[in-house]
Every structure is written in structure tokens, then in C-alpha cells.
């Protein structure tokens, strides 16, 4: 831990001392989530979504393992086994709907978490690796979600697998053999379903492993905060437990309420009706649409409609992968020393344009291919690339940032004078800031 005032673990119970002397597991847990992790005291609610992402990963793993006890990964039996889970297995409908909507909510909280990082500059030194490990988690999530969507073997599962694996055939020379190798055949079939199930079961545990690295790397410099100013001394922080566990706890309950409303009252709202039709390789659906969380990238893929040196399809695939990979370079694309968007007036505007731009891309990705929507998608995709590769580097060069507070608690001290309430009587671990 980087902060000298982080209180080391002191076992209270003799049993724990005995264990800690031999295997410092309690120390590890304490250091990771307990009082041993000092957190800036000024975090706002956008900082709650990392914990929520961890919560949804757990929900997905638990419900997923349960579903796997009833699911058959066979082309003839997959669809019916999912229906069997929904109709005949006790509580099966609940587990299945939680897993199905849990994927969407996992992405929702992850997107909020990513955009929070973008706004407050959480990708900048010294947190570059935290950011990059987060992107690795995000890529693994996309792969896992895609393979999970194939498992019910409905129409959209089958044709989604067909479209996504087709990307690989755009690669020159090795493309087609690579596609056949990935699928284990010329089209999605039993071999593909079996391996997707195998990988869909494996990858969440890989994600959990990278999550541990993500948090480990975070705990070296500690959390960023809304001012983006570094923590200077103990007055700037509070121990994670109990302060942030309490804040995360009530917010998680509130967010799960929102999740429950969708699961119980609109469980198929985010899904595609076509996936309740069993897969049929002779009947292509009118529109092949991925799940909502992949739509912005689908829109980028489909925006490349003209050949230029390379075929349009290859451009689309390159651009789609680049649109995510370029985020790995973000710490070096945005060189402004100021982290928080609150103190960067020009950056702030472009940030909100980017948010709208990504929403527009998502909308376009879900629409049927029509000249107008394709044109809107092309403009939005152009902005996406210009934002990260041209606008951000230039803004960070020419922008005059607003003056930063000298420290987190300085921005706090001026506020204290306005507050007539007396300072508290001094809870252990809370430093009362006297004016």
C-alpha cells in the first residue's frame, strides 16, 4: 500500500492471529477491501460502478454455473434445454432471466465505469496499467458475452455466430482457413457450439483473475478522485471500510432494485424476439442485430461501405478492432497533466460530444441498413476516431486548464468555513479538519 498512514492489519481474535502468522489470508483481505485501503474522501457516486461491476460478475458466475447444470450444449438439445430450464426446472426462469439480463447490466455498469474513467482522467499516470487491465477485462467480457449469446441456439445465436466469425474471413490469405478453424467447420454447428460453451465457462474465471490484477494495480497509487489532485496526507482520505462499504452497500441495493424491476417485469425487453425461434440455417432473419452493448462497434463495422486500396469489409473489421485497441494508447494520446474534466473546459465539451456520439453509434447499429442511418453512422464513426486520435492530443496541447485546488482537503477547508455545525468528536480513523 502506498500510503504510510494505512493501518496495518492487527488480528483481534487469537484464532485470526494464529492463522495470520501461518497464512496471511486475513491480512490480504483486510488490505484489499478493509480499513487498510485509504480512499480519497471526496469520491462521488460515479465511483460506485466499479464495485457494481464486481457484483454483476459474481451474479453472472453464480447463475451461470447453476444454468450449466441443466443446459445441454448440443445443436439438437440446446434450445429445448433452455426452454426446459424456463418451464420445468424449479426457479429456472428466475436464474435464466437473471443471467440473461445480468449480462446487459454488467455491460451497463462497465460502460458507466469506463466513461467515469474517461472524464476524470483515471487512465493517466500513475494508473495506466489499471486502465489497460480494465480494457483487457472489457475485451474478455465482449468475447464471453458473444459466446454466451450463441448458447441458446436460437435464430440470433446462430446468425450472430455466423456474422461475427465471418469477420475473420476478411483477413487476407489466412482469413477463410482461420474462420473454419475457429468454427471447427464451414458454418456454426456442433463443434462451434461445444467450444463456445467450453470457453464461455472458462473466460469468466479469466476475467476474475484480471479483475484481481486490476484492483491490485489500483491499490498501488490508490483511487483517483473528482478533483484529479493527488492525495497529499491523511486528511484527504478515509478508510475504505466502513465508509465506502456503507456507500457502496446502499447504492448496490438501490441499483439491484432497478435490475429486479427489469428481471421480474420486463425480462425480454433487452433481448431480441428472434432468439426465441430455434436456429435454422436455411432461414436468415430479416435483421441480424447483436445485443445492445455491442451495437456501437457494429455500427462502426457497417460504416465502411467503400473500397479504398483495401476492400470495404476489411476496413470495417480493422476499424472495429482499432476503435477498442486505440483506448490502450489513451494515456499517451491525452498528455494534459490535469486529470479531472472538471478543470478542463475544452476537454469537457468534447467529452460530452463523445458520449452523444457513442449513443448515436449505438442507435445506428440497431437500425436496418437505410441510406440515412448509414450516413449518420459514418459521420458518428468519423468523429469517434477523430476524437481520440486528433482532437484529444491537440486539446491537451493547447487547452488552458482551470486552477486546481492545492489538495483535496484544501477544497474542503473553504467549505468548512461555511458550515456552522461543530466538528465531530473524532471517530477513530476520521481526521477532523479544524479550520
Amino acid at each position: 500500500m502506498s500510503f504510510s498512514w494505512a493501518k496495518p492489519y492487527e488480528p483481534k481474535h487469537p484464532m485470526m492471529r494464529w492463522l495470520d502468522d501461518r497464512l496471511p489470508l486475513p491480512r490480504l483481505v483486510y488490505g484489499a477491501i478493509g480499513g487498510g485501503y485509504p480512499v480519497p474522501r471526496n469520491l462521488n457516486y460515479w465511483w460506485n460502478f466499479g464495485v457494481l461491476a464486481g457484483l454483476f460478475l459474481t451474479i453472472q458466475i453464480v447463475t451461470g454455473i447453476t444454468l450449466a447444470m441443466w443446459y445441454y450444449a448440443t445443436t439438437g438439445g440446446a434450445f429445448d434445454s433452455v426452454e426446459h430450464i424456463m418451464r420445468d426446472v424449479n426457479g429456472g426462469w428466475l436464474i435464466r432471466y437473471v443471467h440473461m439480463n445480468g449480462a446487459s447490466f454488467f455491460f451497463l455498469v462497465t460502460y458507466i465505469h469506463i466513461f467515469r474513467g474517461l472524464y476524470y482522467g483515471s487512465y493517466k499516470a500513475p494508473r495506466e496499467l489499471v486502465w489497460m487491465l480494465g480494457l483487457v477485462i472489457y475485451l474478455l467480457m465482449m468475447a464471453t458475452a458473444f459466446m454466451g449469446y450463441v448458447l441458446p441456439w436460437g435464430q440470433m445465436s446462430y446468425w450472430g455466430a455466423q456474422v461475427i466469425t465471418n469477420f475473420f474471413s476478411a483477413i487476407p490469405v489466412i482469413g477463410e482457413p482461420l474462420r473454419v478453424w475457429i468454427l471447427g467447420g464451414y458454418a456454426p454447428d456442433q463443434a462451434a457450439l461445444t467450444r463456445f460453451f467450453s470457453l464461455h465457462y472458462l473466460l469468466p474465471f479469466v476475467i476474475a483473475g484480471v479483475v484481481i490484477l486490476h484492483i491490485w494495480a489500483l491499490h498501488i497509487p490508490g483511487s483517483n478522485n473528482p478533483t484529479g489532485v493527488d492525495v497529499k496526507d491523511e486528511r484527504d482520505t478515509l478508510p475504505f471500510h466502513p465508509f465506502y462499504t456503507a456507500k457502496d452497500g446502499w447504492f448496490a441495493a438501490a441499483f439491484l432494485l432497478f435490475f429486479a424491476i427489469v428481471v421480474f417485469f420486463a425480462p425480454n425487453w433487452l433481448g431480441n424476439p428472434d432468439n426465441y425461434i430455434p436456429a435454422n440455417n436455411l432461414s436468415t432473419p430479416a435483421e441480424i442485430v447483436p445485443e445492445w452493448y455491442l451495437l456501437p462497434f457494429y455500427a462502426i463495422l457497417r460504416s465502411f461501405t467503400a473500397d479504398f486500396i483495401l476492400p470495404a469489409k476489411l476496413w470495417g473489421v480493422i476499424a472495429m478492432f482499432s476503435s477498442i485497441l486505440l483506448l490502450f494508447f489513451l494515456p499517451w494520446l491525452d498528455k494534459s497533466p490535469v486529470r479531472s474534466g472538471n478543470y478542463r473546459p475544452v476537454f469537457k465539451r468534447f467529452f460530452w460530444i463523445l458520449v452523444v456520439d457513442v449513443l448515436v453509434l449505438g442507435w445506428v447499429g440497431g437500425q436496418p441498413v437505410k441510406p440515412l442511418t448509414v450516413a449518420v453512422g459514418q459521420i458518428a464513426a468519423t468523429y469517434y476516431f477523430l476524437h481520440f486520435l486528433v482532437i484529444l492530443p491537440l486539446v491537451s496541447k493547447f487547452e488552458t486548464p482551470l486552477p486546481l485546488p492545492n489538495s483535496i482537503s484544501e477544497s474542503v477547508l473553504h467549505g468548512e468555513e461555511q458550515e456552522s455545525a461543530p466538528a465531530g468528536s473524532g471517530r477513530p480513523g476520521v481526521t477532523t479538519v479544524a479550520g
Binding site: R87, V346, T382, P393, T400, G424
Partner: protein, 305 residues
């Protein structure tokens, strides 16, 4: 220097290819404007349908669902299977064991003759699923002008618009509008197909099955086409989501529990943070001194807002 410039090069490169695609698209659009299709203009969204199962407090109206079962059993089952539903499931819509047994025994289900090993049929048992009207898809197509009547078990979940879509299709048959034929003279509904503006391609293979009077309801409900369509739509909501009653009831309980947990958690959080907050003005940017500094700097930087 080259590496530094690389980002601009890549960014502008993507932008160039995209704008090229945009202009190619616009040029193509101007040169060959897309041909309008009849369905762009004449396709209709489903008519509104209100069922007892709607909304978070919705529950099946068992009498209506039972009437829908009667419509399915006397009309739809001639062509449409209901593979995912078992006879014993009917206990969920208000039948008792004896009624389910009697109902199942009215159906012939495929079996193997235990003496000869040849394919045969026997009376249905409560544990059987609804038998399909055709032996396989090829037989189904052969009997229906090469159209395949879809299985109805999941139909409400498998169609955009759900129950309202089913109801609209069943009651939406009409003559092809003359305005359509004037505008698209080649779009006349082909023989063996039937004009229905609620169907995606406007021409559906299924003929109009409900004209009113197909079934006689034991409870005296008028057997108009509209009523029959509503009842069978309600029945198909149940076949698609037999969990709906339990789901809604559990949902209310879970929502109340989580709301309670969130409120308690919020109060605990407030009590805990009260002291820490008193010594901390959380929002640095809201601090008047910082605000004044920012206003000055903003003016200096020449940025509005």
C-alpha cells in the same frame, strides 16, 4: 517525431475512408434512389391489446386463458404445434387432475406398438406434450403450399409486439387496398397468400381462420372473431410465459425488500458519514473560493460558460 505524428495519420486515415464511403453513399443515393416497397408504406404496427396479465400486478385471467385453449384445440391445432407445453401444465390455468387427464385422453399421441414395434398412436396422458399436427416439417410444408406453420409455444416471445401482434394478425385480414395497387401495380397478393397489413411482408400464407362462431364457449362469452382472437392471444401469452404469475408476485416482494434494504442502507450510510462530511466539503468545485478562481481563469482563457 514520426511516432508522434502517427496518431494524427491514423485518425485522419480512418476519417478519410469513412468520408469517402459517405460521399460514395450519397452519390449512389442521388444516382439510384432506393425503390420504395409496399411494406414501407402499408405495414401497420399492432393494434393495442389489453390483457389481465399486463403490467407489474398482472395475473392471468384463467377463464380467458381456458377459452383460448379451446380456440387452439378446435382451430389452430389443425396446423400449429405446441411442442413445449405438456398437458399437466394445464393445471396452472385452473384445471384439476381429473380434468387434465380427461382432456389429454382426447388427443392421440405418437407411440410405438409394443407388440410389433411399428409406429402407432395412443390416447394422451397428462405427462405428454401437445402432439404436433404433422409428422415433420416436410409434411407440414407439403400440406400448406410450402409454408411452414410455426410452433406456437413461444410465439408471443418470438414476435415483435407479442400478444398484440398475434391478435392483430388474426383479426387483420382485409382486401388489398386499391391505393396500394395503384401505386405498386406489380404487388398484387399472389394466389395462396392473403393480404394482412400487420404481417411484415403484407402477404401471409395463413388464411383468415377466425370469422366468429368457430367455437362455442361454455361460459356464454360471445364467440365473435375479435373475442376468439383475444382469448387465443391470452392463451399464447401463458404458453410463452407460464412463469408470469409467479414472476410478478416474486417481483413485487423482491422490489419491496430491496427498497427497504436500500433505505436502511442509506440511513446507515448517512449516519456513518455525518461526521466525516461535516469536516469535509465534498464538492471542491462548489466551494465559493474555487468558484471565484475558476470564473477568473475562465474569463482569462476566453471560454464561455
Amino acid at each position: 517525431m514520426f511516432v508522434r505524428g502517427l496518431k494524427y495519420l491514423i485518425g485522419l486515415g480512418f476519417a478519410f475512408v469513412l468520408l469517402l464511403a459517405l460521399f460514395t453513399g450519397i452519390a449512389g443515393y442521388v444516382k439510384n434512389p432506393p425503390v420504395p416497397l409496399p411494406q414501407d408504406e402499408f405495414h401497420k404496427d399492432p393494434k393495442p391489446l389489453h390483457l389481465a396479465s399486463d403490467g407489474p400486478f398482472g395475473k392471468f385471467d384463467n377463464r380467458q386463458v381456458q377459452r383460448g385453449l379451446q380456440v387452439y384445440s378446435e382451430v389452430c391445432k389443425a396446423c400449429h404445434s405446441l411442442k413445449l407445453v405438456a398437458f399437466y401444465d394445464l393445471k396452472q390455468i385452473g384445471y384439476d387432475d381429473a380434468e387434465v387427464k380427461a382432456f389429454a385422453s382426447q388427443w392421440q399421441v405418437p407411440d410405438i406398438n409394443p407388440d410389433t414395434g411399428e409406429a402407432s398412436t395412443r390416447k394422451g396422458l397428462p405427462s405428454d406434450h401437445f402432439p404436433s399436427p404433422f409428422a415433420n416439417d416436410v409434411a407440414a410444408r407439403a400440406a400448406n403450399n410450402n409454408a411452414l406453420p410455426p410452433d406456437l409455444s413461444d410465439i408471443v416471445k418470438a414476435r415483435e409486439g407479442g400478444a398484440a401482434y398475434v391478435y392483430s394478425i388474426l383479426t387483420g385480414y382485409q382486401n388489398q387496398p386499391t391505393a396500394l395497387l395503384q401505386k405498386f401495380p406489380t404487388a398484387k397478393t399472389p394466389p395462396n397468400l392473403h393480404y394482412n397489413p400487420y404481417f411484415a411482408s403484407l402477404n401471409i400464407a395463413m388464411p383468415q381462420m377466425l370469422h366468429g362462431g368457430e367455437v362455442t364457449y361454455a361460459d356464454g362469452t360471445p364467440n365473435t372473431a375479435d373475442q376468439e382472437a383475444k382469448d387465443v392471444a391470452a392463451f399464447l401469452v401463458w404458453t410463452s410465459q407460464p412463469d408470469l404469475n409467479r414472476r410478478h408476485a416474486a417481483g413485487i416482494a423482491v422490489a419491496v425488500f430491496l427498497a427497504f434494504a436500500a433505505i436502511l442502507g442509506f440511513l446507515a450510510y448517512h449516519q456513518l458519514w455525518d461526521e466525516a462530511k461535516r469536516s469535509v466539503r465534498l464538492a471542491g468545485p462548489l466551494d465559493p473560493e474555487n468558484q471565484a478562481k475558476r470564473t477568473r481563469a475562465t474569463r482569462k482563457a476566453g471560454v464561455k460558460g
